[in-house]
């Protein structure tokens, strides 16, 4: 099986879906002539021309709205945000227009659109360029929120997202674009709404998604080597709709859970997951569910401070020790 980067997996997904369906087009800042700020759209302008690979002005609200308007009348836009940090300017469109149109039109107007781009902190980009908005979008009924961790999932999920009849917020990461992984040749999709057990284990469940899957994997390795603890890693892959069954199944097995996420703690994804666990797995719990999140601060520029702000394998290990009563 070929090993390719996350970036190229996304590129393949876009190319294949644009070949498959003439209604699919890509729009965003620098997606065409520049070949993509992070080169996800490399080669697409040559392949599909400027009608379908559309460079926009720096006008996030505007082109998000244009995408939604086009989706209202039957196109299937893929809107790239150079980063999700800039999409705050467009969040009115995403929430008020895309997410609600179907409902307030009484089911008449679906919005089959994908908003995608990298989110969360990269390296030393400071407060305004280092934000994980996963929970913001996951809060909104009408949106689907997808956050793949591997090249395989990235490709399969993006293809599913493009084919979905609903607005999908697709969260990537600057730090993940170079990640490599096996991606089969030929057609496949990964369904939205299904978590993936990335590692089976019996002692504690680590719920994670996107960048924190790597954090959880490192923590799991350390836990196995140093404490003989077998962690189970549940990669959510889709935040909304959330695969609660997968989480509950795992927690029922391990009786313990640590939720790892990149965003801020308050009202975060983990808060929601903890709620589901206390609701559906209460009698399976042998310890409180702990969360490892970004520190509750804007991301600082200084490298050491930034590192301290982000979720780390060490913090996950510490949390696991606490709830396995090992410390």
């Amino acid at each position: 099986m070929p090993t390719i980067t996350y970036r190229d997996a996304l590129n393949q997904a876009l190319k294949e879906e644009m070949e498959r369906d003439a209604n699919v087009f890509l729009m965003g800042e620098e997606v065409g002539v520049y070949q993509g700020a992070y080169k996800v759209s490399r080669g697409l302008l040559d392949a599909f021309g400027e009608d379908r690979v559309v460079d926009t002005p720096i006008t996030e609200l505007g082109f998000a709205g244009v995408g939604i308007g086009a989706a209202m009348v039957g196109l299937r836009p893929v809107i790239e945000f150079m980063t999700w940090n800039f999409a705050l300017l467009a969040i009115d469109q995403i929430v008020n227009s895309a997410a609600k149109m179907l409902y307030m039109s009484g089911g008449q107007i679906p919005i089959p659109i994908v908003f995608r781009g990298p989110g969360g902190a990269a390296l030393q980009l400071a407060a305004q360029h280092s934000q994980a908005f996963d929970s913001w979008y996951a809060h909104v009924p009408g949106l689907k929120v997808v956050a793949p961790a591997t090249p395989y999932d990235a490709k399969g999920l993006l293809k599913s997202a493009i084919r979905d009849e609903n607005p999908v917020v697709f969260l990537e990461g600057e730090m993940m674009y170079n990640a490599k992984g096996e991606v089969p040749e030929g057609e496949y999709t990964v369904p939205l709404g299904e978590a993936d057990v990335k590692l089976e284990g019996s002692d504690v469940t680590l719920v994670c998604h996107a960048k924190t899957v790597t954090v959880a994997q490192r923590a799991a390795q350390q836990l196995a080597e140093e404490c003989g603890i077998a962690a189970e890693i549940v990669d959510l892959r889709t935040i909304r709709p959330l695969d609660t069954d997968a989480i509950i199944r795992s927690v029922a097995k391990t009786n313990r859970c640590v939720v790892v996420e990149e965003g801020w703690p308050f009202c975060g994804i983990g808060a929601q997951i903890v709620d589901y666990i206390q609701l559906y797995a209460f009698d399976h719990l042998d310890a409180p569910v702990l969360r490892v999140t970004q520190a509750d601060v804007p991301i600082p520029y200084n490298k050491r401070l930034e590192k301290a702000a982000k979720p780390s394998p060490e913090r996950v290990v510490e949390a696991v020790k606490q709830i396995t009563y090992l410390d």
Binding site: A224, G228, N255, F282, H284, D286, Y325
Partner: protein, 414 residues
């Protein structure tokens, strides 16, 4: 009027009892005061007397079962009386177990003088080894569920979680009803032995006294002259791997453990696993700390094999290349700090193993031999024992064997 037969607290510290023998069988007539059964308590074998008259209509525990105090184990009633309701409830809920202040109708009817069975939550129970918690018990939801399923009173369990929270492991170690006695198993390399009541009491009391693994220590000074000579001779053999004192100690300990299997065991909460095979965990210091690669089947290996394999494991341990199965599964540990000129030290047990031998340096020391002061190569070893598994005399006998073998290395091949 039907009378329930409870497992009674037949000693002040008894929490559960084992039915040694039923002296009355089902459908046999029973008089008040008749001995119904022999019960092994934590102290002795006692008699359980009938507290009602009629027929022993039903028993719920069979011989050999261990049941918690307060559990209904039988029903005495008139031969034609309908006991369907009791049958339906017993065993299904913990409601049938006496709890603090729970005065059942039959007890009220039989009057205060009809000594009700001492409940686990009674004053004696509270005074016993496992102190009764007052008020709300802090327990994890899972522990609560397990306790309910297994009919354990959470209040008598000592929680080991934060703030004394009762967690799953506490319930599991507290549990030993008929449903949870670990069925004695005999695997290829070990044999499981159920805990006798006295063994359990020792374990409980000592754990409370000193911590989850109640250690005690035995020290012995060993004359190493003959071992030193033997080692020198072995190391003079051309092209042979170099043999260290530690290699010889491993070999000797492995041999001695075969002779003293009671020290080659794991504490398993509900039972003790005695191993037929000897797997020695050898403490190796590495950059980040300590790891214990396991020399498997050390009792079957020659000194040369032990030397070669031990060195190889230690090397890979320092490179952090050990696989998990290479540093788990040991049955006894050896820690040697002799190379650091440590005369003597105590080592911490590596659970679930029950013993570890701490080995000091081999040093020339003045010693009286047959009334004359002379200088001999001497070595001090200290064995840490888990008292739940190994008693003082047991450990001492093992240590004596080790000492004798090292003082007369020929015994290795004996």
């Amino acid at each position: 009027m039907a009378t329930k037969v409870y497992m009674e607290a037949l000693s002040p510290t008894m929490e559960e009892g084992r039915i040694v023998k039923w002296l009355k069988q089902e459908e046999e007539p029973v008089m008040d005061g008749d001995v119904l059964a022999e019960v092994e308590t934590d102290k002795a074998i006692m008699e359980l007397q009938a507290r009602g008259e009629g027929t022993l209509r039903k028993v719920f525990a069979t011989e050999g079962d261990t049941v918690e105090v307060g559990t209904v184990i039988g029903v005495i009633a008139a031969a034609d009386e309908d006991i369907g309701e009791i049958l339906a409830t017993v065993g299904a809920t913990e409601g049938e177990r006496r709890a603090d202040g729970d005065v059942g109708p039959e007890r009220a009817a039989s009057g205060p003088d009809t000594a009700a069975p001492v409940a686990v939550a009674g004053p004696h129970g509270a005074a016993a080894g496992a102190p009764m918690q007052r008020g709300r018990v802090k327990a994890s939801p899972l522990a609560r569920r397990l306790a309910k399923e297994r009919q354990v009173d959470l209040r008598v369990i000592q929680g080991t979680g934060p703030g004394g929270r009762v967690v799953r492991r506490d319930v599991e170690s507290a549990v030993s009803g008929p449903r949870h006695v670990h069925a004695p198993a005999t695997g290829a390399g070990y044999e499981d032995a159920p805990l006798s009541q006295i063994r359990k009491t020792i374990a409980n009391r000592l754990s409370q006294s000193i911590g989850p693994v109640p250690h005690f220590f035995l020290t012995s000074e060993i004359d190493m002259e003959r071992t030193a000579e033997a080692r020198d001779e072995l190391n003079n053999v051309p092209d042979a791997p170099r043999i260290s004192y530690n290699d010889i100690i491993i070999k000797v300990v492995a041999q001695a453990l075969r002779q003293h299997p009671e020290c080659n065991a794991w504490w398993q909460d509900n039972y003790i696993r005695y191993f037929n095979e000897v797997h020695i965990s050898v403490a190796v210091s590495v950059e980040e700390g300590l790891i214990t690669p396991v020399l498997r089947n050390a009792h079957l290996k020659s000194l040369r094999e032990i030397a070669a394999e031990g060195r190889e494991l230690a090397q890979r341990a320092r490179e952090r290349k050990l696989k998990p199965e290479e540093y788990t599964g040991g049955t006894f540990s050896i820690s040697n700090l002799g190379m650091f000129d440590v005369d003597q030290f105590t080592a911490v047990i590596n659970p679930p193993e029950a013993g570890i031998l701490a080995v000091g340096s081999v040093a020339d020391r003045p010693v009286a031999v047959e009334g004359t002061m002379t200088v001999r190569k001497r070595m001090r070893v200290t064995m840490s024992c888990d008292h739940r598994v190994i008693d003082g005399a047991t450990g001492a006998r093992f240590l004596q064997t080790v000492k004798r073998m090292l003082e007369n290395p020929l015994a290795i091949v004996w």
